[in-house]
């Protein structure tokens, strides 16, 4: 059996054995390391090379680590991209890291060469030490070609996978358009509907023509010697009436044209001879300085009134009266 002091010594030894590696681990100088995310790629595939430098926190202010500057290509490898140097750590250790994305187009086993770091004084950048990483081996495999099979054509251009964000402008524009349309519809619907008031005709074409004829009579135009004016106004009254009452563009038609165009209007056509006589006489007075007699002036006025009377639209009550009388 062991004595108490022996047991104590053994316990002490075990305790020291446990504590010693921890004490050993405590870093006193900067260290560097190079690591890759994979050691085996196919031609053209990419690997990430991560360079790290650890430095005790108490030296961080006085010492600087100079990272290796990699060119765009190193032997057998191409540098695709690189990150900035990132600093992290705790109160005891500071870790500086930089990641490179590399690719290779040569098949075989290649080594990423050792990377040299400079340990510099922070005050004057003087190199006080140099650290190197271990080389990293990478297997670059080629694509296995089955030579027994026939050649295949080159693949066509492949479309990039559809992403909704590629179309954000169109989608936003479309949504805006829909919103604008909704807004316009809403605006139109919400507007107070203004019902246009139907203009109530104050006077019918017949009444207007009769008023104008009375005015012409009252002005005693031909009696004052202005025969041309008398016939001009008389025919204008009649032509305007035809235009308003029957939709015939009489003001823009000559006598012959007008007589042709009244043919489809049965009621008017029944007065054709009277109208021809009137318009022909008026033409002579207007364009040939003819001086019709006073009787002819009166007759023309009478004929105009008769034409108006004959062609005016009858009121329903008048029509009924006629039917009753005929019955």
């Amino acid at each position: 059996m062991y004595t108490k002091p022996v047991i104590r010594s053994i316990f002490l030894c075990l305790l020291l054995g446990l504590i010693f590696p921890v004490v050993l681990r405590a870093q006193t100088a900067p260290e560097v390391h190079a690591g890759v995310d994979t050691t085996s790629i196919r031609i053209g595939e990419q690997i990430k090379l991560r360079l790290t430098a650890t430095i005790p926190a108490n030296q961080f202010g006085t010492t600087k680590i100079g990272f290796p500057v990699l060119p765009d290509s190193i032997e057998h490898f191409e540098v695709v991209s690189r990150t900035n140097i990132d600093t992290s750590g705790d109160q005891q250790l500071k870790v500086l890291a930089q990641t490179f994305v590399l690719t290779s187009f040569d098949s075989g086993h290649w080594e990423i060469p050792p990377m040299r770091f400079d340990v510099q004084k922070a005050s004057n950048n003087a190199v006080i030490d140099t650290l190197s990483t271990s080389p990293v081996g990478v297997d670059v495999g080629t694509v296995a070609v089955d030579t027994t099979k026939a050649f295949r054509p080159i693949k066509t251009v492949q479309g990039a996978p559809w992403r909704i964000w590629d179309y954000w402008m169109e989608i936003t524009g479309g949504m805006l358009l829909v919103l604008i349309i909704i807004g316009i519809i809403w605006f139109i619907r919400s507007r107070k509907k203004v019902v246009p008031e139907k203009p109530t005709p104050t006077v019918t074409p017949y009444e207007l023509a009769m008023q104008q004829l009375h005015a012409l009579k009252a002005e005693q135009v031909w009696q004052r010697g202005d025969v041309k004016m008398y016939y001009t106004r008389l025919t204008d009254i009649l032509r305007t009436y035809f235009e308003h009452q029957f939709g015939i563009a009489a003001l823009e038609q000559t006598t012959e044209e007008l007589l042709q165009h009244i043919k489809p209007v049965t009621k008017l056509n029944q007065q054709r001879d009277k109208l021809r006589q009137l318009l022909s006489l008026a033409d002579l007075a207007k364009f040939a300085k003819m001086q019709p007699t006073a009787d002819e002036h009166e007759a023309c006025m009478r004929q105009t009134e008769e034409i108006l009377e004959w062609t005016r639209p009858k009121k329903e009550s008048e029509n009924e009266g006629v039917v009753t009388q005929e019955a």
Partner: protein, 333 residues
């Protein structure tokens, strides 16, 4: 001097008597020309109004026969010039030739020295020949060497243009076309007329000969009377309105025509419209002009005086379409 009512009545009677030859002429021409009354009427208007006529129509529509018959009926001298690309101005107006016996240059008059000229297919000759003819039409005189010759009166040029086969032709410039009082577009005869034409042509014995019914001096007298035909200021205003509507259609509520018209009628258009309306009234045996006269000849006087834009041509709008719109918009006095 202002015309009084009695003056116009007297003038009307005078013209009624003086214009009787128009019916005689029509009857005489009707012996050989079947249909084409419209063309013959326009030829007479040109003759009476001292204007020239540009005729557009396909070949074979009795253009030559019409003017030749008119010439015979008036006892005038007729001459036909076939315009070709190699024609020279001297071939039309004449030239100086050297007389070896007399040892001097002598004038050899061209075919233009006639009362009635048929300038067939005028657009086939180069511009210098066209302008030689058009100058003669305007001036009514020709200068060969140092001598100026007055052309015989009445002097009427009937120029024809073929609306098809435009290749290798020299289109008359607008300024030259404007010198023609009328541009008449003629069409095919009716079925009945065509049957009559066939029968007449297959039986040459049945084709009567045209006899002179009047003399050139009668035409000269008639021309004087045509100018005396009374035109009221209302008619003058109507003519001016029509011509102005071709220039400024927007002033006549015809804004839609504005982009279709490149240029409107010139003052020469107004003059010719008035003159042709007077001649038309004369032919209708009236001593005064009425709006019908203006409208009847408006298309023939104006169709070549309204320039169309590319837009109008692209939309197949013709000058006739534009004139119809104008006539339907301008108020008749």
């Amino acid at each position: 001097m202002e015309n009084t009512s009695s003056d116009i009545r007297q003038l009307n009677e005078k013209i009624h008597q003086a214009s009787a030859f128009v019916d005689l002429l029509n009857m005489e021409l009707g012996k050989v020309i079947v249909g084409q009354k419209y063309m013959v009427e326009r030829l007479l208007i040109g003759l009476l109004a001292q204007g020239h006529v540009l005729l557009e129509g396909v070949p074979g529509l009795a253009k030559t026969l019409s003017i030749k018959s008119l010439s015979s009926a008036i006892n005038g001298k007729f001459s036909r010039i076939q315009f070709t690309p190699d024609l020279l101005p001297a071939d039309v107006i004449g030239t100086m030739i050297y007389n070896q016996q007399r040892n001097e240059f002598m004038v050899r008059r061209g075919p233009i020295f006639a009362n009635f000229i048929l300038a067939d297919e005028i657009n086939r000759a180069p511009a210098k020949v066209q302008s030689a003819l058009l100058e003669a039409m305007q001036e009514r005189q020709i200068t060969i060497g140092d001598t100026t010759f007055k052309l015989d009166e009445p002097f009427l040029v009937l120029a024809t243009q073929n609306p098809i086969e435009q290749e290798g032709t020299y289109m008359l410039p607008e300024a030259q076309v404007d010198r023609f009082m009328l541009k008449v577009v003629i069409g095919y005869p009716t079925k009945e007329e065509e049957r009559h034409i066939i029968r007449q042509n297959l039986n040459p014995q049945a084709t009567p000969e045209i006899r002179p019914v009047i003399q050139p001096s009668d035409i000269m007298e008639a021309r004087k009377l045509v100018r005396e035909v009374y035109m009221d200021e209302k008619i003058e205003k109507y003519i001016i309105d029509i011509v102005f509507a071709t220039r400024n259609p927007e002033e006549y509520k015809l804004q839609k025509l504005k982009p279709l018209i490149a240029y409107g009628g010139s003052p020469r258009a107004s003059i010719n419209l008035a003159l042709a309306a007077k001649a038309y009234a004369f032919m209708k045996r009236r001593g005064y002009v009425i709006p019908e006269d203006v409208r009847s000849i408006c298309f023939d006087v104006m169709r070549h005086r309204v320039g169309l834009t590319y837009e109008a041509e692209a939309e197949n709008v013709t000058s006739e379409n534009i004139l119809s719109e104008i006539l339907n918009a301008v108020e008749v006095p």
